[in-house]
């Protein structure tokens, strides 16, 4: 604006740069927490290793017995990294669901995507029904993936209808949760005792199903998805100012929403398909990121990814620590740990958005 009065000596610019520096520091702190958590996660198990032993084994030091390296790299590493990748993927998916639906309650869990995945998986576990005729060894995961994507796209299509509000979408998600839970209960009712146990264990969500090939697929999905969001960072941030405002900025809101929802549905569905239902990370991770760093997607997205990853990794540490010698399914722990943490954040940030 050429008629502007001269502004006080770069006060705004300096303060903005300080704000950006603070956000980068928060991202660095989250990264440090994540790294420490992964090291702790690797050290925990039937045989406990100190942080020093873990670090030495990871850098290939000869001071550590070969057996320790084998345990860490071949057994614990896929599990620990799966926690990181699944946490990151669910949190990023939740963050973008909340952004494009403009809804604080949006997440793969609350909108019925996880419930749909569980139903798809149960069809394979109980009846051996595959929704795709090939890749028999991944039939459970593929069924879960297809049902989860169908649920995500249904939510998206409904959200595009005229007169559909934020509240309607949440209600729609709740109806999906109830519908798929009822269908799942029906399948369980008809299942044999052995199949029933498999379904119940699957719906609890467990990282012990992790393998290197599954981890590679999930990492690839995450690596392909995140750049899509990064490229759209300004447009996605603008969506949080409301549709009219974003459109008035020149954002093609229909295209951004559709593109993001398609990517989000894969991002949310793939981890659920491989490790089962893990609730709350997709809901809590983005809220923690938002409270720590705000909603500028250039920082909010990496913060969501890091907070989700760190949270699931820490949850993995806790699940191994509660009952020494046994690993409690992580899906049980996420809510128990995540909810009190979110609750305390909400109570200390009252009045700031949502």
């Amino acid at each position: 604006m050429t008629i502007a009065a001269p502004i006080a000596a770069q006060a705004g610019r300096g303060a903005y740069r300080a704000l950006v520096r603070r956000k980068k520091l928060v991202l660095l702190a989250l990264t440090v927490v994540l790294i420490l958590s992964v090291i702790a996660d690797l050290g925990l198990g039937p045989a406990r290793y100190s942080m020093r032993e873990v670090v030495l084994a990871l850098v290939g030091s000869v001071e550590v017995p070969h057996q320790v390296s084998v345990v860490l790299w071949d057994i614990r590493m896929p599990v620990a990294l799966t926690a990181v990748v699944v946490g990151a993927a669910l949190s990023a998916a939740g963050a973008q669901m909340q952004t494009i639906l403009n809804n604080p309650l949006a997440s793969p869990f609350t909108l019925g995507i996880s419930a749909a995945a569980s139903f798809g998986a149960s069809l394979a576990l109980v009846f051996g029904v595959g929704l795709l005729p090939f890749a028999i060894e991944y039939v459970v995961s593929i069924n879960a993936l297809i049902m989860a994507m169908a649920a995500a796209l249904f939510i998206h299509l409904m959200s595009q209808k005229r007169g559909v509000t934020v509240e309607t979408i949440v209600l729609l998600g709740i109806t999906l949760v109830f519908t798929f839970n009822a269908l799942l209960a029906l399948v369980q009712f008809l299942a044999s005792e052995q199949a029933l146990a498999a379904v119940v264990f699957w719906t609890m969500g467990s990282l012990t199903r992790a393998t290197w090939p599954k981890l590679a697929i999930m990492t690839l999905v995450l690596a392909v998805s995140l750049p899509v969001f990064v490229r759209r960072a300004w447009a996605l941030t603008a969506l949080r100012l409301g549709d009219d405002k974003a459109a008035s900025f020149g954002v093609n809101i229909r295209r951004v929403r559709l593109e993001t929802m398609l990517v989000v549905s894969v991002l949310a569905a793939v981890p659920v398909a491989f490790v089962g239902t893990i609730g709350f990370i997709g809901l809590v991770g983005p809220h923690i990121a938002r409270m720590l760093i705000g909603e500028d997607q250039r920082f909010f997205l990496p913060a969501s990814v890091l907070s989700g990853a760190a949270m699931l990794s820490l949850t993995s540490v806790i699940s191994k620590s509660i009952l020494p010698g046994s690993i409690i399914p992580i899906g049980i722990i996420t809510a128990l740990v995540g909810v009190p943490f979110l609750f305390s954040l909400i109570m200390t940030n009252r009045g700031r958005a949502w």
Partner: protein, 256 residues
């Protein structure tokens, strides 16, 4: 090149319902301020959203001087400014400026944000979050976001409805000055007819989805308009400084 805007038989439909039809205007030019007035639910916001490209409908909108195909240079400030975003005012104005541009924030972007903050006089809230602002502050920020996009054609839907009298006068003076100095074609919806008399060159009256009249301010704002459109008895008189002002005597009571 001076920006121009002309509407030819423009309308808006929601489903099968026509909410606006047959809007035809003379050529609106850069440097001019056109006020759009009319009762509530007359179709003013629909008209703005149609011009901004957010709604489809019949008719033709000619835009000159700005980019006609992409509507770049046409900047629209919506009426609803409610937000619950954890984003500072500074960031939100930067965000408005960076849409469609490279992701890297350059010094000139930050300078432009500072300058916009100063022009709307909201430097003191630059690092408050949007979700912590009052209604009036949000309206000023929304205006700043729109101005940061360096408009050629500026569409403002009730930009002063939540502001106190001092801020109303200040903002309308800013809009008038920007229009004159930067040759911006301004179209604004506003209810306060005295402010219209102060700031606008031309008035467009919308009622029940059609354009009732369009012309110079003093030719359109008359006792007849007050009676027919607003159902009030009133006069247009000159004050001691020779400015026209609307004096309302009271509502017309319909005894039918």
């Amino acid at each position: 090149m001076v920006a121009t805007l002309q509407l030819n038989d423009v309308g808006v439909r929601y489903g099968r319902q026509n909410v606006l039809s047959g809007i035809t205007t003379p050529l609106l030019k850069g440097g001019e301020v056109t006020a759009v007035i009319g009762p509530n639910a007359a179709g003013k916001s629909s008209l703005f959203r149609r011009i901004a490209g957010l709604l489809g409908g019949p008719g033709h909108i000619s835009i000159g001087g700005a980019n006609e195909t992409s509507l770049s240079g046409v900047c629209y400030m919506p009426q609803d400014t409610s937000v619950n975003t954890v984003l500072t005012v500074f960031e939100s104005i930067l965000l408005a400026r960076k849409q469609g541009a490279t992701s890297r924030v350059r010094d000139q972007d930050l300078e432009a944000v500072e300058s916009t903050l100063a022009s709307v006089r909201i430097e003191s809230i630059a690092f408050k979050n949007l979700c912590e602002l009052s209604g009036g502050q949000r309206q000023l920020v929304s205006l700043a976001q729109t101005l940061a996009r360096e408009p050629k054609i500026l569409l403002l839907d009730e930009p002063t409805s939540a502001l106190d009298l001092h801020r109303q006068v200040e903002v309308l003076a800013l809009i008038r000055a920007l229009s004159t100095k930067q040759q911006i074609c301004v179209v604004l919806a506003i209810h306060d007819l005295n402010q219209v008399l102060r700031v606008a060159d031309r008035v467009m009256v919308i009622d029940a989805g059609t354009m009732v009249s369009c012309g110079p301010v003093e030719a359109v704002i008359t006792p007849a308009l007050l009676r027919d459109i607003y159902k009030v008895d009133g006069r247009i008189e000159r004050c001691s400084r020779l400015c026209s002002q609307v004096i309302i005597d009271g509502p017309i009571v319909d005894h039918a």
